[in-house]
């Protein structure tokens, strides 16, 4: 449903082109489909390549020639159903691939066709070229982003200043009443006043930081690296944090989900078998892995991932930073209320969503050209009970 609308909306956007440049019509549509196919394939890419050889699952190059479409649709939607139903090809494939089940995909028939079309038209050379082009850019961006974004070292520490100032006050008081070294008493007064002012400033700044955990980077029970998974292997965030589009929680993947890949990938690049073995142990002992939660908001804050990821179309990086460069997960944003509100005041709402049709006045203003964009605060983004209830 959703993707249908997505295509529809894009079609409307392209309406002007369609009328003037009839010739390019077919091209445009194919382009849209290709884009969607690419999006869909990000999930598949965790285990499959197209022409890049066998990963966890088989190489999908030429898959359209190997099997007929109807069978492929069924298999992609729910491979295990076919295996259990005793489908010959499915059972054989399952055995060939070390009995690793392909998780069911919640796709419509049309979506699978788009996906298959993408696989069919996929030109490996082009992508290789593009990745070759991208690669230096990526390393450059990594180098640039890391120091500027993760200014952990820049986080000012006031502890020493506070103690120095405190000692100054002590000295001033001691001199005032006991040693009487400096005769002019206003000097003491000035020193004390300045010191109190500095201390007050430090207290205010520190107090604001209470409960905030910017640059929090706890050690996890398993040395899981987002850099390897999301960065190098390019696994889509949503593959593991799949509920981010439908729930308030982004979701931590279950051990079983890890096993989708790690039944085959038994040794890591950095830690070898040591860390991956912990997944197997979790399964063996039937104890879930107790991850340390990095991004915490207070209990009285209701934050919904679905609202921001699915509806607001905000990419994960905007709040979580360059996760794909982090070996150990770190909180990049301070997650303070000011930070939330700043974004709500400047960020544009996906106003084409039919939900906002009820905001008739804003629509009128846009249609009459009075308003060019609708920010979140205009649709209640500054209300207390958007987040606190």
């Amino acid at each position: 449903m959703c993707t249908y609308h997505k295509i529809k909306m894009k079609l409307i956007k392209h309406f002007v082109f369609l009328t003037t440049l009839l010739l390019f019509t077919t091209m445009t549509i194919t382009k849209i489909q290709a884009q969607e196919g690419k999006d869909l394939f990000t999930v598949c890419a965790a285990c499959h390549t197209i022409g890049g050889g066998k990963l966890i699952g088989p190489d999908l190059k030429g898959v359209n020639d190997r099997q007929d479409e109807a069978w492929l649709i069924k298999f992609i939607q729910n491979s295990q159903a076919l295996v259990q139903a005793g489908d010959e090809i499915a059972v054989k494939l399952f055995a060939e691939n070390n009995n690793i089940p392909m998780p069911p995909n919640n796709l419509t028939d049309d979506q699978v066709r788009t996906l298959l079309k993408y696989i069919e038209e996929f030109d490996a050379t082009k992508v290789v070229a593009s990745t070759v082009q991208e690669k230096p850019a990526e390393t450059v961006s990594e180098n640039i982003i890391e120091p500027s974004y993760l200014r952990k070292a820049d986080a000012r520490k006031y502890g020493t200043t506070f103690i120095i100032v405190l000692i100054l006050i002590m000295l001033a008081l001691a001199d005032l009443f006991v040693t009487r070294f400096i005769k002019a008493k206003f000097v003491h007064l000035i020193v004390i006043l300045i010191a109190i002012f500095i201390m007050g400033e430090i207290i205010v700044i520190e107090a604001q930081g209470i409960g905030r955990q910017q640059y929090y980077e706890p050690e996890q029970p398993i040395a899981f690296s987002h850099k390897i998974h999301a960065g190098q292997n390019k696994i889509d965030c949503l593959y593991c944090h799949s509920t981010a589009t439908k729930s308030m929680h982004a979701g931590i993947p279950s051990t079983q989900l890890c096993m989708n890949c790690h039944t085959v990938v038994k040794s890591g690049k950095i830690t070898g078998t040591e860390e991956i073995a912990k997944i197997y142990k979790s399964l063996e002992t039937q104890t879930p892995i107790e991850w340390i939660k990095v991004h915490n908001v207070p209990d009285h804050v209701f934050f919904s991932h679905a609202q921001h990821v699915e509806v607001g179309k905000i990419s994960c990086n905007e709040c979580h930073g360059p996760v794909e460069t982090m070996d150990r997960m770190m909180q990049v944003s301070d997650l303070s209320m000011g930070w939330c509100i700043d974004c709500h005041r400047t960020r544009e709402v996906q106003f084409t969503n039919n939900f906002y049709k009820d905001y008739k006045k804003l629509h009128e203003e846009i249609n009459s050209g009075k308003r060019s964009r609708v920010t979140v605060d205009l649709v209640g983004g500054e209300d207390c009970q958007k987040c606190h209830y």
């Binding site: 879930p288 892995i289 609202q307 039919n354 209300d383 606190h388 209830y389």
Partner: protein, 982 residues
Amino acid sequence: MKKYWQSLEDYQRIKTNQEYVEKPEPEFSIEGMSEEEKKGKATRRDFLKMLGFTVGGAVIAASCETPVRKAIPFLNQPEEITPGVANYYASTFYDGNDYCSILVKTREGRPIKIEGNDLSTISKGGTSARVQASILNLYDNARFKTPQKDNQEIDWGTLDSEVSSQLKFISEQGKEIVLLTGTIISPSTRKLIEDFKLIYPGTKWITYDAISYHAIRLAHQKQFGAAIIPSYDFSKAKLVVGFNADFLGTWLSPVEFTKQYSAARKLLNGETSMLRHIQYETTMTITGGMADNRTPIKASDEKVTLLNLYNEIAGLLGQTQFTISKPVVEVHKLAVELLENKGESMVLCGSNDEESQLIVNAINYLLGNYGKTIDLVHNVQLKQGNDIEVAALIERMNTGNVGVIIHYNTNPVYNYPNSQKYVDGLTKVDLKISFAESPDETSTVCDYVAPDHNYLESWNDAEPKLGFYSMMQPSIRNIFETRQAQDSLLKWIGSDQSYQDYLEKYWEADLFAKQSKFGTFKAFWNQSVHDGVFISEEKLNSNFAYQEAELKITEPDKDNAKYELFLYEKAGIGSGNFANNPWLQELPDPINMSTWDNYLCVSTLLAEEFGFKTEDVALINGNFEMPVLVQPGLEKNSVAIAVGYGRTTAGKVGDHLGTNIYPYMTITNGLKKLSGSLVSIEKVDGKTYPLALTQSHHTMEGRSLVRETTLEKYLKDPASGNERHAEDAKKNTTLYSKPEFTGFHWGMAINQNSCIGCGNCVISCQAENNVAVIGKQEVRNRRIMHWIRIDRYYSEEAENPEVYHQPVMCQHCDNAPCENVCPVAATPHSSEGLNQMAYNRCIGTRYCMNNCPYRVRRFNWFEYANNKDFDYNMNNDVGKLVLNPDVVVRSRGVVEKCSLCVQRIQEKKLLAKRENRQLMDGEIKTACQASCPADAITFGNLLDPNSAISKINEDPRNYHLLEEVHTLPSVSYMTKIRNKKS
């Protein structure tokens, strides 16, 4: 102008034309407190000490590290569970008394809320306060955590082997095995009991109800040849006459009746007719309060009145009359009116008295109501208790003939009138077993307890009416080491089958054939589990021929020096099986607004005679003392006491509250009756007992807030009774600019014609919004936390007043007095018209509370969670599982109030956005609205001219509370209309 009053003090004031004087409220000052209450209050020095300590503590706390929080995923994520998204499962509520088809809301695998099931044709999406509160029983820490032998823990293996061998031994001896159960409406369980009988041939199955309806079955046996309770259809009736039948509150199937009753009395969308209701009753009930005409009668006069009514009708129809003494109340007019509504009327009687029920049936037969408003075919399966068999059983127990007794869903040691005899009998029984879910008076004297699952952990089915099936499915795995009673029975007959399989097999073998929609059983089963209900297509026996029965009256005992005692069930506590439920204990009684106690209700005249005031103490029968509550509308020479109190082994919440009055039930002709006892009363001078009444809380300073009219006047002028609305609208003006809303403006409307005051919304809100229970003393201190309260007003004479129920929650004023006075802007107005409350911003000045004219704001005087002084559900880990994770648990020192269920608004808005569509009208339902059995509440967007709420706002009956102060509330009310005939 008609004057309304809430308390008897008010009433006296109106009578003597005195000015309203506001009493000092302990909520705001300690002046109004007694010496006892002042104890423990801080002095100024204490305050300073505390201040220093708090500041010091805060500094230390602030310098501590933030605690490490963990995120623990599933090992293997179930496909249907998305953390953060609720799942709903259709199921069935049945506690031995009431039936309700429900949806269970679960979050992360734990049930947190009950909603009504719209697919049910019986409860139609409604619930009762008890159904709402039943979820708390699941998380009751007092529940049995393991099986027991002689009140010591044992394991299931030992219990099974010991019980099985003893059962076998006693059975071989030829001694009687008795299954004493509450009414079982599960067809599978009934079949299982038959199977049990096959293995243990000496088994007798006896059904026992705490509140018996046996007389209705006996009367139908005599007159229609079948011991049934017919089903009643209020939607087909134009006139209903009740005799001590509290059918909206407690009688038979209140949720079903309320749905039908209120639908017939809405007067929305230009309807011009409404159901007329006349009630004759002893004490004031919510049913009597709703009646268009109500007459207080003595319980002992009921039969005379009924037979006179029969005679009048028979006379008008030219049929034989019976000779009797002359009537106490005039019934000729009633007879004429009933005949005018032949076939569209209904006469109901709530007494468990065969003579009364025979007369009622005869009247309904004369009126041609059978087959129209009264349905014998789809008869009610509830209340199958057989008083005569129970009495015979107790005799046999005392003679030592009974070898085994198994209690399932019964507690006769607590609620049998002659419970001592039952206990004596039990000592002569070799093996006593109880299936009790949590300790009760009976289970403690049993040898073995094989604790049953809570109904939310169980598989079962139900057949509340013949041909109407209902499915119960577990929504959580058993929390404690309990086992479903049916599984225990299966085990003891040596079967390896689980009851779940047994149930499925039964449906396959028996019910699958009763439908033609599904070709395969699997499809039929899945759909039934999904829907929760199934209506059989089977042709039922409809052959019921009427036979005349002799109508006679046995004159009841009379003693002019004594008073007739009438026992009744309260809407919340009922028969007392939910006594350990703090939500129900703190639910104010809809009529007298009392919590946490039972008491002796006396009429205003009797109070005058004895010099009784509420909270005085009376000595009853020279035997026991009880606090007195003066109840307007009670028959003048009767006294009334609620059953369900005085439990001794219910758990820490329910124990030793009030007095157990079941011993004062009478048994006449073998039938247990709630009336019939004669008691003497004396005043105990100088002694008082504190009652926690919410009655005079929240008085609205004498301003009349209820608007009402009669049907006659309404038909002439739809705005009748609501003339002030137009006047006030003209006068109103303000200095502030009118608020503007861009997308949504949430509004709510309450139809006072529908609201019966049952309290379902109060508990529903409490469950949804994590509202704290504060206990009797704090209720007395006027600190009750309910976000929605139901104000009750009386009008006319105190001997027989008219009653009004008015639910009041935050009115979400667009010109809110509370918002202007908050020094920290903790309660601003939202862009959608909600009056918001930001708890983390509130510093507890309570200015807003002082400035709110509706008194809907609540202050957290204490930390109610994790506080051993408030040892209710929020003080232990099990009890906390019921909390709604979408709503924060408020801490000490902040103000809270109704948010119009903002979490539900946000949830549905997000859903609409994700589905790329506009919100639909009626899609968002607040907690109070969703399960209201009377459908009295409407919620929606006031900016949408086509929404239901906008249409109601344009209705001439619509008005706001305190319109004259121009607060511009978003909540509105509709004039109450009574179908009165003089």
